[in-house]
């Protein structure tokens, strides 16, 4: 299919924004409520699925008592949590302490509202789109929501009046804002190709090829930073149990804790759905199936299925990463974000923009293009050769051993020889084993 044909087809169809503009209020209300309920059910299912998958990955069954396959486990947990005592520490700042979980619970739902689940459908006799709202700045809404989520973390840690939550909150805030930079910059490439900040337009712009193929570096950076952004393993440093107890929500109990828990999982769903929108073609059917009946599986209510499957796949990636990868050290993690992801992103953005300008330029033959690209790559390689190599520190900063005034243990430590009695016991324990194997071998020889 040529580009003009695609354009003609796109012009025939109304965009999601145009479709949604004529929605009556009652339909919008129904959509909002349905989306809210669907997200809540997804969260309940997700918490159960995570525990089940983690269980299988760790060679144990996982929760399997409440309901079929233990599917009602999260509902049982929520009920149990709601019947627990609500404790507010004496040193907590009352109102901020109460506000923090409320603030945390709101933004993920707002972000889900701009996700383009699909295109044109007819709902209750009204022509509309499978999306709650399509704004010209949809991408910014999602980013803004993830930023507001940081407030909940910082306020929770600050207002608890306790050292562990405070440290957890600081870490978490530093981590989320660092990875938000990487995340935001990786979206620039997508916006460049789509020419729009509306989520529905971005999903529609991928009919010719998913941005995951066109912008692989952006996609990989997004995938890494979305894990950092949501404080999930292996980047779950704010909740490092071995260092910080529970992180920013250490002092929270009952339903307040549940709100933080929900917000974390809802954020996972949001970033996965956002990745689906930006890089995996939104509700478009994957390649081999898209050939069926001229892309019929991408119309009507079908996109819900594909969108859900792609999002579920990404969420499975989250769980898999948690089971497979150990937690990073904090300095390594921050270093990776600031010293690798950010510069890589900036170079990639300039390179993609340059390639695009070159492609759109008139009067440049393909031979000239190759020469220009070659020169640019050569300049980059030469430039990278000029960069100073890694500096090897001559002297490791050392604590002065002598004369520091601190009591020091003896520094020439060797493993002491065990007392005679234990030595003889060990020798006796080792001897018969050798004798057994030796006799066994002899017996085997004899049989042969």
């Amino acid at each position: 299919m040529t580009t003009t044909a695609v354009l003609a087809q796109a012009q025939q169809r109304l965009s999601n924004a145009e479709l949604l503009a004529d929605d009556p209020l009652w339909l919008t209300l129904i959509k909002v409520v349905v989306l809210f309920i669907v997200v809540m059910l997804t969260l309940a299912l997700l918490v159960w699925a995570e525990r089940r998958v983690l269980g299988r990955l760790q060679n144990r069954p996982g929760p399997n008592r409440a309901g079929p396959f233990g599917m009602l486990q999260s509902i049982a947990d929520a009920l149990k949590l709601s019947l627990k005592e609500d404790i507010r520490p004496a040193r907590a700042d009352k109102w901020v302490y109460i506000m923090a979980p409320i603030i945390g619970g709101i933004p993920p739902f707002l972000a889900m509202a701009v996700m383009p689940f699909g295109g044109e459908v007819t709902m209750f006799g009204v022509q509309t789109a499978l999306q709650v709202v399509d704004l010209p700045v949809g991408v910014l809404v999602v980013l803004a929501c993830s930023s507001v989520g940081v407030y909940s973390i910082v306020l929770a840690g600050w207002s608890s009046g306790s050292p562990y939550p405070l440290l957890g909150a600081l870490r978490s805030a530093a981590q989320v804002i660092s990875y938000e930079i990487a995340m935001g910059l990786s979206i620039v490439g997508v916006v460049l190709f789509a020419g729009s900040l509306s989520t529905a337009d971005i999903a529609a712009a991928q009919s010719g090829g998913w941005f995951a193929w066109i912008l692989p570096i952006s996609f990989v950076i997004y995938l890494i930073s979305m894990v950092g952004e949501t404080n999930r393993a292996p980047f779950d440093l704010p909740e490092a149990e071995s260092e910080l107890v529970g992180g920013f929500h250490t002092e929270y109990t009952s339903l307040k804790f549940l709100m933080f828990f929900l917000a974390e999982y809802a954020n996972m769903v949001v970033v996965s759905a956002f990745a689906t929108t930006l890089f995996l073609g939104g509700g478009a059917v994957p390649w081999p199936l898209s050939a069926i009946a001229d892309n019929a599986l991408s119309s009507g209510y079908w996109p819900l299925l594909w969108f859900g499957l792609k999002t579920a796949l990404l969420i499975f990636g989250f769980i898999w990463a948690r089971a497979a990868l150990p937690r990073l050290r904090y300095d390594q993690f921050m270093k990776f974000g600031w010293k690798v992801l950010v510069p890589l992103n900036l170079v990639w953005i300039v390179a993609v923009t340059a390639l695009r300008v070159l492609r759109n330029a008139e009067g440049v033959t393909s031979g000239q293009r190759i020469v220009i690209i070659g020169v640019a790559v050569a300049v980059l390689v030469l430039g990278s050769l000029l960069l100073p190599g890694r500096q090897v520190a001559d002297e490791e900063p050392q604590v002065p051993l002598a004369g520091s005034g601190y009591p020091l243990p003896p520094l020439d430590l060797t493993v002491p020889t065990p007392p005679r009695q234990r030595r003889t016991v060990r020798a006796r324990a080792e001897q018969p084993r050798e004798a057994v194997t030796a006799s066994g071998k002899e017996a085997g020889d004899g049989n042969a």
């Binding site: 919008t28 909002v32 701009v114 050292p163 938000e180 300039v350």
Partner: protein, 121 residues
Amino acid sequence: MLDPYVPLVLMFVLATAFSAVSVLVAPLIGPRRYNRAKLDSYECGIEPSPQPIVGGGRTPVAYYLTAMLFILFDIEMVFLYPFAVTADALGLFGLVEIALFIATVGFAYAYVWRRGGLDWN
């Protein structure tokens, strides 16, 4: 015809209602058994360390630095988005301008890197 932001407002109201109700209702349905130790801040069973009444006392300066850097790069990001939307119309002019802009922020970035602002210990 509705204002395009109305659905977002509706969603906001619904989400706020849900989280506010569940947070505010929690003290009403849960049991209440007073215990002084329960209201202390949790420090793995030891006596809570003394702390200033507001805030948590001193925080490592590296966090402030990260916040400053975040603002710097967030502004860069905010400028890159409108550029990305109109990049095709701007053509070569836009490319040169944005390369200069990224280079300008790059100087600040290189400076911070060189001075050890990105190192954690």
